[in-house]
């Protein structure tokens, strides 16, 4: 069947495009950061990664004679990614803590900072230090050290965890939180560069040493990094980089708050193309697997019973667990590269739901149809191929469309495994422009522009099936 061939070709083509990713080739120094932590990491006007950590990363790569490759990923999975060998090091403003030191080795600190409480300058709650914040909502980025610190030292503070600084700043501007705790430098820079109506209050909650974690089995790399850092300190490079972002006066007024409209449009469209590409590949994979699985699910008795049970259990398991967990399991647990992990996970997930739909479609075809075809002498394969399947498929089209729509929406989840799809691109734009309302709305509308016609189409097919009198009951 040439369908199968098309599906396999497309899937392979997509996997080829996706890989090798990330290339942990010998000569590349692959580092990770979030791209959402200005001025340490953010996207500039042209949509490229920039910031203090980016400059440090490139400088180190140059000094150890390797090509710099920087991956933007989510903060809450960034250490797991390092342990899963997705990159060589994290140069993303990570504080050195004993807990982290249990799993990774840190370089010597490349800068010092500390945790600072920031509040709205209107100060509606009249607080002047963290100890006055009991019962008030204080935000931190999920997974940052500040979260554990607050929970331990100030258990009566209501800690709100959000995905990125941009969300926190927007929340505080709307006064939906009392304040936030972040790095002193980051917060100060926000106030200065973005003209945010925030002020810092109280002393630093604690001081932090920021280092570069590498896996414990890479002592030689750690040595090289430390050597490079020492040299950068000695020859003033580190000082120069620091000046670039924290020097007196505005660093460069164009750095923040703006991004060329064409860059924004390109980022959104590219991101959406990635989302749809993943959705397309996953749907093809899912459907190709769903047909045989759905068919096997109809054999509850007879010699195929054991296979039926296995598939039943697998389908139930997939349907009963969060896609996010499946995604992280395949990415970090099984060690797949992000694109294959996304396509495989969403494909299998689509298979589970579609197999159920295919099964229901097959069951709703009048058994008399198969009997009628048998009476004409058709072989079992022909009966399925020409009589039962075409009817089951037509019945299944509307619910299959629903699966397709869900799957397209589920691609939003793959941002978590550092794939530059629409949501991630929107976040990177927001981290520069600080307009979450606008760009999340646009991203939502882009999805809707694709899902709405599919939903309408499914309605039409459903009506025409009813008119033709398929399916008994």
């Amino acid at each position: 069947m040439h369908y199968a061939r098309i599906i396999i070709t497309l899937t392979l083509a997509f996997l080829t495009l996706a890989g090798p990713w990330p290339a942990t080739a010998e000569e590349e120094f692959v580092t990770a950061l979030t791209g959402k932590f200005p001025p340490f990491s953010y996207y500039d006007k042209q949509g490229n990664l920039a910031g203090f950590d980016v400059d440090v990363s490139r400088e180190i790569a140059q000094r150890i004679n390797q090509k710099s490759q920087i991956i933007a990923t989510e903060w809450d999975g960034i250490l797991a990614g390092l342990l899963a060998e997705k990159y060589d090091a994290i140069i993303g403003s990570m504080a050195i803590t004993p807990v982290r030191q249990e799993s990774v080795d840190f370089s010597t600190p490349y800068y010092h900072s500390g945790a600072q409480l920031f509040i709205h300058r209107d100060n509606p709650n009249k607080v002047y230090s963290i100890s006055e914040c009991n019962g008030l909502r204080i935000a931190v980025v999920l997974g940052e050290t500040y979260q554990h610190f607050l929970e331990e030292k100030f258990p009566d503070v209501e800690v709100v965890t959000l995905k990125s600084g941009a969300e926190i700043f927007a929340m505080l501007e709307q006064k939906r939180i009392t304040g936030f705790v972040t790095d002193r430098l980051v917060g100060a820079w926000q106030v200065k560069e973005a003209g945010r109506p925030f002020v810092s209050v109280g002393d630093m909650l604690y001081k932090e040493r920021i280092g570069i974690p590498v896996r414990k089995d890479r002592p030689e790399l750690l040595g090289q990094i430390n050597k490079a850092l020492a040299a950068m300190e000695d020859d003033g490079t580190m000082q120069r980089i620091h000046q670039r972002y924290f020097g007196l006066g505005k660093t460069s007024s164009s750095k923040l708050g703006t991004m060329e409209p064409s860059v924004i449009a390109t980022k959104l469209l590219k991101g959406f193309a990635v989302s749809l590409g993943i959705a397309f590949a996953a749907i093809l994979l899912g459907f190709a697997l769903a047909v045989p699985c759905g068919l096997l699910l109809t054999f509850r008795h007879g010699s195929l019973k054991p296979i039926h049970f296995l598939i039943r259990a697998f389908v139930d398991f997939i349907r009963g667990t969060p896609v996010l967990i499946q995604l992280l399991f395949v990415w970090l647990g099984l060690g797949f590269a992000p694109f294959p992990a996304a396509i495989l996970t969403l494909g299998i997930c689509a298979m589970a739901y579609m197999a159920e739909v295919v099964r229901a479609g097959l069951m709703s075809v009048d058994p008399g149809q198969d009997l009628g075809a048998k009476a004409l002498g058709l072989s079992p394969v022909d009966r399925f191929r020409f009589v039962v399947w075409p009817q089951a498929f037509r019945i299944a089209i509307p619910p299959l469309m629903n699966c397709v729509v869900s799957l397209i929406k589920d691609t939003a989840l793959v941002s978590i495994i550092s794939i530059p799809e629409l949501i991630r691109e929107a976040q990177s734009i927001i981290s520069v422009t600080f307009e979450p309302g606008l760009y999340y709305l646009i991203a939502g509308l882009m999805f809707f522009a694709v899902t709405f016609p599919l939903m309408k189409l499914s309605d039409r097919v459903e009506r025409s099936i009813k008119a033709k009198g398929f399916a008994h009951d």
Binding site: Q369, G372, A375, L376, G377, L378, D382, F386, Q391, K468
Partner: protein
């Protein structure tokens, strides 16, 4: 010739639907298997069409036990039209007819089409060729289902309750139409519609509680059951 010899069939729940039945279907003509509802007619038909295996007795087609025939040979000699017809709703009438000609008899698409059209023409329903099953009347659907079976040129055609979807007026038309088809094949019609049987069949049996009550020419059978 089909000989049914001492056939019995009992369903899994213990219902003795057919109980030691014997009868002979001639090479030519229309034979009626009559009986009240629940008398075992459909069960017997399913045994003859090999959809059920009798628990006892044999069914012999031209000297051969049907249980021992190859599926493909058997299906081409004995055609069946079920009570619910089971036309394929996603195919038009022509495609319904062509499918088995192509897939079972291995004819080319062109040949299958030509033969199907010719058959529809001879059965006076050529105008239905492009219609879908949902678009034709009950009587037309019945004829289409018979045409689909006849296209394979079987020796015998089994029809289960062919008049169940027809009213009295169309039933007479249908009976006349069916009588003209005797030239193609011999029919075994299973029906509880005695007037219809009288209009079509020469010979028949009358069943009751899974057994043959009366047998002979239609006139004899009808006369005898009237008497009881």
């Amino acid at each position: 010739m089909i000989e049914v010899q001492n056939v019995a069939y009992t369903y899994a729940d213990g219902t003795k639907a057919v109980n030691d039945v014997s009868m002979t279907f001639p090479e030519q003509g229309i034979f009626a298997v009559m009986g009240l509802s629940g008398s075992g007619k459909t069960t017997l038909l399913n045994c003859i069409a090999r959809f059920l295996s009798p628990k006892q007795g044999e069914i012999i087609l031209d000297g051969q036990d049907i249980q021992e025939m190859k599926e493909i040979d058997f299906r081409q000699q004995v055609g069946v039209v079920f009570q619910h017809l089971n036309l394929f709703p996603h195919m038009n009438v022509l495609e319904n007819m062509m499918l088995a000609l192509e897939r079972v008899q291995g004819k080319t698409k062109a040949a299958a089409k030509a033969e199907s059209l010719e058959m529809l023409e001879r059965l006076n329903i050529a105008e239905l060729a492009q219609s879908y099953p949902a678009q034709v009347s009950g009587g037309q659907a019945q004829r289409v289902a018979i045409a689909r079976g006849l296209a394979l040129k079987p020796k015998f055609m089994l029809l289960d309750e062919p008049t169940s979807a027809l009213d009295a007026a169309t039933t007479s038309d249908f009976a006349r139409w069916l009588r003209e088809l005797q030239a193609f094949t011999s029919f075994i019609i299973v029906t509880h519609d005695l007037p219809f049987a009288e209009q079509t069949a020469e010979q028949g049996v009358f069943m009751e509680s899974g057994q043959v009550q009366e047998r002979g020419t239609l006139a004899e059978v009808l006369k005898n059951i009237d008497r009881c």
